[in-house]
Symmetry: C3
Subunit: 465 residues, 3 copies
């Protein structure tokens, strides 16, 4: 099922170079500096419950495709806001297997085939005929000690795995991991959206909690900032090397302190209008950049997703249910206030992501190819795919080079897909470099250096690992 | 002139797969669910007058290119608003042949070569030297019975051909076709732009006619909607399976009934401002989606063309003269009102088209990869070309898959180009699939299934044929 | 170092065609109708001072990349606003050599390798080990007569080289070249930004100077226009065949004379607001198009660059320091006023450039494939690269054809890079055509005609050379 030449260019000359390059990075450890796995898995190290709970129910790439073709989320056992979730996992798996053909030509298919084959030895294509047999095999395997989260972590050769966490999180699972004596490095990432975005569910209570946890009086902007500083410090102590910011736009601001203070008071009043909330978020990006200059945490910005586009799905199933849709994203004017202040500061590493591929060559590569603080994150979400990764390299490299990029992020909550995602990224990078070499645009010895840098060195440098 | 390997990737491995796939779909019947041929051709079955009238004067792809290079529309005999049209068709053909080199690298060239070669046995490249001989050959052939519209329809193996028609149309030609006993399936499509867009020439008279035809009192919004319902019903009886909507933007609205009513009154007053007209059109898309839920007609939206950009050409030659220019088109926010209401309804099939390729991966594939009602139409107009089709597959497939697309539309008023357009589409799909197989991203047996689905099954399903 | 097959597709069939095509154009003379070399070089014909001053300090492609990776502009000896510039050129060269790996995958690397190899016989990859030796070799060569500007001009087989000049320029260097008896054709280009853009440094003084030079009373709009007419006439006498306009947007206007007059008065008052300044610039594009209709100068528009994005760099180092960043650019609505007036006039040649690649297929190709006056300039700035050029052909050709494009512009201030830039452009065009031939979309004899047209004929025609 998994051809050794898969994902390389089919042209023999480029393919041969790609295969040689891949040989050199295939078995390198995995660095996963940005993702959404659950730290409790590694804290408790319990067996994963069943194939549906492992592969389907947490993976919006999978159920959004099924839903788009008329499969109800109820029938897949997707948890509901009111707590309901009724579906026999074996039946869920059968539905999935029956619709496996829908994933033809998608990265999900590549990830799944890789996991089924390399982890469970299931080397035929999944379909209705073998659905039950596959379910049995996987279920049985999941009970074995070598399929516990920690064992898989080691088997996957993960050197570091970053989770994404609320600033209000106690990080108790991270602490439990540390105290367990297990050597796996699972580190948190500081993601303050819930205390920065006034539209976030429970925003005002979150601010209160922030004050309570830190002992800072969050009734003033200064106190609020200090509280954030303290939580960042705590995250750092717990191993964090980065922050992450998910905003609707890339808007930044650089207000004077008294304007910030009165804006904060409006936000706290609960009567702020959307424009004020947006400017507050914009100002907070600049504040966060300033704190990164102070404490050295690498800063990541993920803008451009319109969350919960499908109201009916949101009301019944809540957030992160495959109904977040990208929208056009502007970076050049929006980032200017932040960059004017901190863009030339060598202490800041600011990594940009996008869902709007038209910005790669128009905005992101020109910005990253100039500002010392800026780096380009890998293709994100819908673009974390063979064609998407190739477009990123083709569109960004000529202006930003390789050295203003930061390697790969798997960005996933699907733990078992991590090795396959890194494998796809390595293969595509080798394919791109193979073409450059075959077209005599780069020497092969340089391509070996570059692919090592993309796989390991640039990740470690950007995320200070 | 027509190499059997044309349009396939030149890499031998991918090309070989593409050729095998193409063999399997080359001779399948043509389904043409969206186009602009004239039903009178099939009703009267008269000979086409001459090569210029057949190939050049109705085809804005051709005369726009000639015009851009300084050839006057008068010299090509393009009909003028004042009724003037003076050009010797033989002279028009000579001008065309002299400028045939302008079409190098364009799909028009591919379509023409295919038609000249397969239909008229003209296998040398058209140019000034053979212009007259070609004119003679074609003219002569057009007088033969096997070049009458119905004979060509059968020769082309067209299983169904949809026209595009005003709701005020009597569909007399469609009726004549039915009553003639000829078995060719030529069906209308309900295109209500002229009674929905207040800027449309003769809009208010159109509304009146709508009332007169249906016996509904179109003085109220409710009556107007009922009149539209009746016309849709009539179209359905005459074989229609779809509606089509050409709007400047993809804006939709979901107003309450009383707001809609007063908005309609403003529109009827003839004193509405552009913003009101736009909201009215936006509301009408949602109303039409609601009617599609009721009556099952598949709904198509073609937004983003700025019509009649060239004022001088419009004033002298009228609409559809190659001066419609695309503009940036936003879907995610614009469609939300309609999708919130009907996007999860399995009874609706809503097919989106675009002239803004930046939306494929950013907006359209994510939307269609989630909402059950949404499907992606094939590359449209300027993008109905080898590179355009390939980009569509590369940009949309990884997120929307193949099964949220609907096969090919030829969308043409150039009847003779229909087989060549479908041939290009099939070849490009085979080339794309050939590459996926050669890169081991898809198994070859699956590619055979997919290419059948793209050529036949997805079209039939989406358009309920 | 320079493989003869470089930049061609690696597929053997397409590569073989590309190589044959390239053979036919490789040694054709260079036409450089748009660029930024300094005419004083050819007037005085003095030796270039040293490798750093030749290769690094004038080339923002190079120092922006170094700066993005933490190399200070001071250390590179970039001239400062206060006149400071302290850096040992040999040390600058060492820094450059040490960071040469940063340019992997960029066009700068291709240009440099070509120049070092073909001009100086330096055939190993530049790096820290050979930095000093390379510096010596180049320094020594620069003292030789065959490395003087005029000798290089001839060695490069430049048939015509256009500079870019302020309307206030005396063109004394151009005159000196003429009077010197040297046969090299170095012509000016009329670039009026400094007397059209009210935000331009010294704008009001520039207007005054314009009046003083021409003897026109620039206190009225009519006098101002007449002054511009006179300067255009002077440029024409000095050999100019084109104008160039660098605007933030592509906005055009077509105001009546009295509105233009009062707008001009506001501008002259020094109290105009940004909106007024923008409309003034918009109106001036239409005025310039009108003058081009009169005097036959080809008109070029380069919109979409946000200049001096990095405030700190601008304050210390001034303009053109690699901190200009593209932004989304709209053409269809913005150009309508100008095109409504002059777009159908065969006397106008109006060449559009873009930094927003999403407009190639959406806006620019449809516009140029219709309006007789419009042509598409080659990929500009960040997109003047192998991938960028290929995307341009892939995205624009199917709608605009080859014959609405105008060949290549090197657009450079790096004189020594001119042959390498034209070589890259020729190779990419050959590669694109090679693929079309290999895919049987174009006959090989036609491809030979096209590549000649792209290299020579279309340039001469568009720029009236």
């Amino acid at each position: 099922m998994l051809d050794s030449m898969r994902l390389f260019p089919s042209d023999p000359e480029a393919r041969a170079v790609a295969a040689r390059l891949y040989e050199a990075v295939r078995d390198l450890p995995i660095l996963s500096p940005h993702g959404h796995t659950d730290p409790v898995w590694f804290a408790k190290d319990e067996a994963f419950p069943n194939p549906a709970a492992l592969f389907i129910q947490p993976d919006h790439y999978i159920f959004r495709m099924l839903y788009s073709q008329g499969v109800s989320l109820e029938s897949l056992g997707i948890p509901q806001v009111d707590g309901g979730q009724q579906a026999d996992p074996r039946e869920v798996w059968r539905i999935f297997a029956k619709h496996y053909f829908l994933f033809r030509g998608t990265p999900t298919r590549l990830w799944l085939d890789y996991s089924l084959s390399t982890l469970f030895g299931l080397k035929e294509r999944l379909g209705p005929e073998n659905a039950d047999a596959y379910y049995e095999t996987i279920s049985k395997a999941l009970q074995a000690p070598e399929f516990r989260p920690r064992a898989l972590f080691e088997k996957f050769r993960i050197e570091v795995l970053a989770t994404t966490d609320s600033p209000l999180d106690t990080l108790e699972h991270h602490e439990a991991i540390r105290e367990s004596g297990w050597k796996g490095r699972v580190i948190p990432t500081f993601r303050p959206d819930g205390v920065v975005d006034a539209e976030y569910l429970g925003f005002l209570e979150n601010i209160e909690k922030l004050g309570a946890i830190t002992g800072e009086s969050v009734g003033t902007f200064k106190g609020y900032l200090n509280a954030l500083r303290k939580r960042r410090e705590f995250f750092k102590e717990m191993g964090a090397t980065a922050t992450d910011h998910g905003h609707l736009t890339a808007m930044t601001a650089d207000l004077d302190p008294s304007t910030s203070e009165s804006l904060y008071q409006r936000i706290l009043s609960g009567r702020s209008v959307p424009e004020e909330q947006q400017i507050f978020q914009a100002q907070m990006l600049t504040e966060m950049a300033g704190m990164s200059v102070e404490d050295g945490l690498t800063m990541q910005l993920h803008p451009g997703s319109i969350r919960n586009h499908n109201r009916q799905v949101y009301e019944k199933f809540g957030r992160d249910k495959g109904a977040d849709i990208p929208s056009p994203t502007e970076y050049v004017r929006n980032l200017r206030p932040l960059l004017s202040r901190y863009g030339n500061d060598p202490r800041l590493t600011f990594i940009l992501f996008t869902l709007d591929e038209s910005t790669y060559s128009r905005e992101l590569a020109p910005l990253a190819g100039h500002y010392p603080a800026l780096k380009l994150g890998p293709p994100w979400w819908f673009h974390d795919s063979p064609e998407g990764m190739m477009r990123f390299r083709e569109l960004a490299t000529e202006t930003a080079g390789f050295y203003n990029t930061v390697g790969f992020n798997d960005d996933t909550r699907a733990f078992l897909s991590i090795p396959s995602r890194h494998d796809v990224a390595r293969r595509i990078d080798c394919g791109f470099l193979g073409r450059l070499v075959a077209e005599h645009r780069l020497d092969e010895d340089e391509a070996f250096e570059v692919v090592h840098d993309l796989t390991v060195n640039l990740v470690k440098k950007a995320y200070k690992l």
